[in-house]
């Protein structure tokens, strides 16, 4: 039997690494990789708590909706990144610094 704290510690480690990835990558898609990692870490927490609630499984249902929203976010973000790449010929977030097209 694994205590819930260990799940939470794994989750918070993954979240911190995801945060570091999102902050340090010099590529918009690298930032997206970090975001996905963070969303997964949060889902892990929800699932870990849901283990103690077998009658309702609300954590798992919430994690399911988080998953759907994460997928939507990735699809939209990639479409936007492709448009930005067409316009600026780069995906480095530092170099995309003009609002006017």
């Amino acid at each position: 039997m694994i205590p819930v704290t260990h799940f939470l510690l794994v989750g918070c480690t993954l979240f911190s690494i995801g945060l570091a990835v999102a902050v340090t990558k010099k590529n918009a898609i690298g930032v997206l990789l970090g975001l996905e990692l963070m969303l997964n870490a949060v889902n892990l927490n929800l699932v870990a708590f849901s283990r103690h609630d077998p009658a309702h499984l609300q954590g798992q249902l919430f994690a399911l909706f988080v998953m759907v929203v994460a997928v939507c976010e990735v699809a939209i973000a990639l479409a936007i990144i492709l448009r930005v790449f067409d316009h600026f010929k780069t995906v480095d977030p530092d170099q995309i610094n003009r609002l006017k097209g």
Partner: protein
């Protein structure tokens, strides 16, 4: 046995996540994310969420990662336009020290809260059978409204991404 599996998969997920952080090659980062998703799916199984584990593998590995790899390839600009040159997709890391400090501080804060907290839910739990039936029932009864809203959201995302991608093709042709 369960503990060994837990620490094995947790270590695998964290090691792959660290690889994402430290590698410069974006393709390696995407494949490391693949390993992390599998590790997290295994942790879902150990937390008795079998349906979510399968959904994780199908949605993330089958959908999101393919999309991300497509994105990496479409936005790649080789410096030398030659088929003999290496085609690695490199992305530098910037502000490693500052980002690392922020991440370590966030980790320290979260870990302190988790270790010192006294969770009501922490304790023994009953083993249970497959969660699929319960999730299906809940989605069709108590969680019907969010389910339908997610359906509308998915439709909106489909139309939105289609619109963005369609205009892109028209622009590059003209």
């Amino acid at each position: 046995m369960e503990q060994i599996a837990f620490y094995l998969f947790a270590g695998l997920a964290i090691a792959a996540a660290l690889l994402i952080l430290f590698t410069r090659n974006l393709m390696y980062a995407a494949f490391a994310l693949f390993i992390t998703f599998f590790g997290v799916a295994a942790l879902y199984v150990l937390a008795m969420a079998d349906f979510l584990a399968v959904a994780q593998i199908m949605v993330y590995v089958g959908g999101v990662l393919v999309l991300l790899v497509f994105g990496i390839m479409l936005t790649h600009q080789p410096k030398v336009k030659s088929s003999a040159a290496s085609n690695r997709v490199l992305a530098e890391n910037r502000g490693m020290i500052l980002g690392g400090v922020v991440a370590v501080l966030v980790f320290a804060m979260l870990a302190k809260v988790i270790v010192t907290a006294d969770f009501v839910l922490d304790g023994p739990y009953a083993a249970q059978k497959s969660t699929m039936e319960k999730i299906g029932l809940a989605l069709m009864t108590t969680h019907l409204l969010p389910f339908e809203m997610v359906a509308v959201l998915l439709l909106a995302v489909l139309v939105g991404t289609g619109y963005l991608a369609f205009n892109r093709i028209k622009q590059t042709r003209s």
